[in-house]
């Protein structure tokens, strides 16, 4: 056997993890999450089934009633469902993190001299894949059904990028909930309670003007409405409006608040 031990006296201890190592550790943890996805492909069900099913279902059911016909409803519903799927997908980020943290291997990660953010950020980097799949499938389904986005290829790509970024940013809230709440069911429960009203009390599925005044007031300040507006500006009109700027800023603020919260809650729980 080769030497298995390096004595304490011969060691130089570092007080914290340097940034470059933090990044490399995050990617290692992302690799682990991707391996997990690869071996448990059922994790992709929500981001595959929901875009296909909801897009087809909602368009044919509500299209005529809301927009007069399917064709003119598509620009509304496709962007709405992109955001809705994104929000549902970030709920899964939280529940899966919670489930993962129950396992013994998280004790191992905690006992290693590694950055505390890496076990949280790693899976979230891997989740970009899920957000990407969801957004892509929704757009493709729409295109097949006759959606012709006015923003052209560039607009669609920009919209795709924004919805992925928005979903990823919001999933930090759920990562925080995942470190805070005791069970995956609790994370799911709280997530539904927040996400359901936020999605439906927005302009995702219906034009704002059809709502009663008091509800319009809420819908207007709902951040989901802002993100949907921004994506519509990009995809349907090809315009880089102020709303896009506000949406991106909003995402940055969410990450700036909830990423540190999640990391400190994770370190405390230990």
């Amino acid at each position: 056997m080769s030497t298995m031990i390096i004595p304490a006296a011969g060691r130089r201890l570092t007080p914290h993890t340097p940034l470059s190592e933090t990044v490399s550790q995050t990617f290692s943890m992302a690799w682990r999450a991707l391996k997990k996805m690869q071996r448990n492909p059922e994790q992709f069900f929500d981001v595959i089934i929901q875009p296909l099913l909801f897009t087809a279902m909602f368009t044919y059911i509500f299209g005529g009633a809301i927009a007069g016909n399917v064709q003119s409803y598509l620009p509304i519903i496709i962007t709405g469902i992109m955001v809705q799927t994104s929000l549902t997908a970030c709920m899964a980020t939280g529940t899966q993190l919670r489930e993962d943290m129950e396992k013994g291997v998280f004790d191992r990660f905690r006992s290693l001299p590694m950055a505390r953010i890496a076990p949280l950020a790693g899976p979230m980097v891997a989740d970009l894949l899920r957000f990407g799949i969801a957004a892509t499938l929704t757009i493709v389904t729409g295109l097949i059904m006759g959606y012709r986005p006015g923003g052209g290829v560039a607009g669609v790509l920009a919209g795709w990028l924004l919805v992925v970024v928005a979903g990823w940013s919001l999933s930090w809230i759920f990562a925080w909930l995942g470190t805070l709440l005791r069970t995956a069911q609790a994370v799911q429960g709280v997530g539904m309670m927040v996400m359901f009203p936020l999605t439906f009390l927005s302009n995702a599925f219906v034009p704002l003007t059809t709502l009663p005044g008091w509800l319009q007031a809420f819908v207007k300040v709902n951040p989901v409405t802002l993100v949907i507006d921004a994506i519509r500006d990009l995809m349907n009109r090809g315009e880089l409006t102020g709303k896009v700027g506000w949406a991106v800023l909003g995402c940055a603020v969410v990450v700036a608040i909830f990423a540190p919260l999640a990391v400190s809650s994770y370190s405390r729980k230990a």
Binding site: M4, R11, H16, W31, N40, S111, P113
Partner: protein, 348 residues
């Protein structure tokens, strides 16, 4: 030793660059004492799981923490390894304060948990590679280190298998291998052989002895006196969050007699009569086992077993079974604490 394979950064001579704040030596490590803890306390709500434990582990020794389920062994170990915050008292590992410098402590210790802390979804080789990467090894070096450890632990054939399909013993071995990637000078083993079959258990003991020969300091918890006896240089007995005894295995065992004679009487009504006989021979009253008509008689000298048996025969007290064994943890406990290792409140 190939330095490329190491994750630790051995001091490169005395010329330490002070410019790079992140790599400079923070404090000199104390190489005499691996662990020194005073008055450790951990509370979970109303329950005080660890209630003022002092612990000193010298570098290079195997220290056994012996106690029943729920005694607070795991909680204590989790505090020492930065996995749980310390509620009271203080602990140092190689002179580094655990509470204020957790990141440094994590560079000095390897932890092998009670339940194998390896990733179910990954293969054995992937598990070790991942930990190597997280410890800062380049990908190639991490792969080499993984292969080396898999070889040392006899897991080459299972390298590409997912942990899901591993046996309990293989998981434990992999878990220990994972703790050794950084070649840590202090290794914590939480009940390393609980639930293993005797053969696997023996292999684990050999591995632990090998680690100590290589210069490791080992702190292990166990429920088995024979395990502590086999491996440990010194033992602390923990009961209900307190340390109730400490010493070498021999000191502990002589506190309850070197060996114990167990007798089961055919007629349990004559128990007190038999106990009185044993007391006249040995000078100490025997303890009664929880079963009716059972006596456990501590023997300063195993040869005295015959004296007791002859006396019983002479008094025509009939026995159904008799055996001479090393004292069990139960007897050590009984002798030290005055109560059996009953199941106390759940350990969180």
């Amino acid at each position: 030793m190939n330095s490329v394979q190491t994750t630790a950064r051995p001091a490169a001579g005395s010329a330490t660059a002070s410019a790079a704040g992140s790599t400079q030596r923070v404090r000199a490590v104390d190489s005499e004492l691996a662990v020194s803890a005073t008055g450790l306390v951990k509370r979970f709500g109303e329950v005080t799981a660890v209630d003022g434990i002092d612990l000193t582990v010298r570098t290079g020794e195997v220290f056994g923490v012996l106690g029943p389920n729920g005694a607070g062994k795991t909680t204590m170990l989790r505090m020492l390894t930065t996995l749980l915050p310390i509620d009271g008292g203080s602990a140092r590992v190689f002179g580094v304060d655990v509470a204020s410098a957790p990141h440094q402590i994590r560079q000095l210790v390897g932890v092998t948990g009670q339940y194998a802390s390896v990733d179910e979804n990954l293969t054995a080789a992937e598990n070790l590679w991942l930990i190597g990467r997280l410890l800062g090894l380049p990908s190639k070096a991490a792969r080499a280190r993984a292969r080396e450890l898999l070889g040392q632990f006899g897991l080459e054939d299972a390298a590409q298998r997912q942990i899901k399909h591993f046996s309990g013993g293989m998981r434990r071995r992999l878990d220990l291998a994972a703790s050794l990637i950084a070649r840590p000078p202090l290794i914590f083993l939480d009940e390393p052989t609980t639930g293993l079959d005797p053969r696997t258990r023996g292999q684990m003991w050999d591995t632990i002895r090998q680690l100590v020969r290589d210069g490791a300091t080992v702190l292990l918890t166990t429920q088995y006196l024979d395990e502590a006896d086999q491996l440990a240089d010194r033992i602390a007995v923990i009961d209900r969050g307190r340390k109730v005894a400490e010493g070498t295995p021999n000191q502990l065992k002589t506190s309850v007699g070197n060996s114990t004679l167990y007798i089961q009487l055919t007629d349990s009504n004559r128990t007190s009569e038999a106990a009185a006989l044993a007391e006249t021979i040995l000078g100490e009253p025997p303890t009664l086992t929880p079963e009716a008509g059972g006596l456990s008689i501590a023997l300063p000298d195993p040869n005295q077993a015959a004296d007791v048996l002859i006396a019983l025969r002479t008094a025509q007290i009939s026995i159904s079974t008799a055996s001479v064994r090393q004292p069990t943890l139960d007897e050590v406990f009984l002798a030290i604490t005055g109560h059996y290792t009953d199941t106390p409140s759940e350990e969180s």
